[in-house]
Amino acid sequence: MSTDRIEKKILLRAPRSRVWRAIASPEEFGTWFGAKLEGAFEPGARVLGRITIKGYENVPMEIVIDRVEPEGLFSYRWHPYAVDPKVDYSSEPMTLVEFHLAEVPGGTELTVIESGFDGVPAARRAEAIKMNTGGWEAQLRNIERHVAA
């Protein structure tokens, strides 16, 4: 997996207009995403809301709408996984989430791309940990050696 983006493709057996509505209407988006959002999905709009998923109830959520191209592309920026109330995410860079719709035989192909992780401290640290530590097996061998010494 590339460190700077997550990409998902899924075939939805529903007409493109139906999929578009499910994604570009705040109410419908919230239904499957698991959030209650207030505001219109219009370019430049800041939409606030709360997560409704079990275990995350009432965690605030904020997305900034980027592009709205009917039945083609919907995109927004946000702080991914910004769920720790003790962390101030506002100074951190946001990632960009894009929903690309394409008509295909049998329904609609939806491609979701989330990009911009290289600027996100948590993601950078996750990578730093992976790269700097030389792997956990080596680390476990160190502990083993130490315990055995």
């Binding site: 997996m1 997550i6 939805l12 139906r18 999929v19 698991g34 769920v83 720790d84 680390q139």
Partner: protein
Amino acid sequence: MSPRSGGSLARTAPVFAALGEDTRLAIVARLCSGGPQSIAHLTEGSDVTRQAVTKHLNVLADAGIVRGVRRGRERIWEIEPKRLDDASRWLEQLSKRWDDALGRLKRYVEGDA
């Protein structure tokens, strides 16, 4: 974003907070590459005082990233691999969350198609 991955994220967030400081990240890197060691060893060749390192180690211990084991008169500090492993799975968790959300979207739009 299942409750399960949520729980693990909630545990991961303090890890990132604890690592969000250069000295602490350096201490963790040193424990990773050099293996378990005492504070005296950790401060060798560095400008950071013993006292400061102790403070940082306590923050790391509170986040579950390191643990101190008493050995004779001194305390030996070592990495808790499990917690750091969780943290390095951050992007994978995010990826998994999208899988979950898109699964819900699929059921949602296909249910009334």
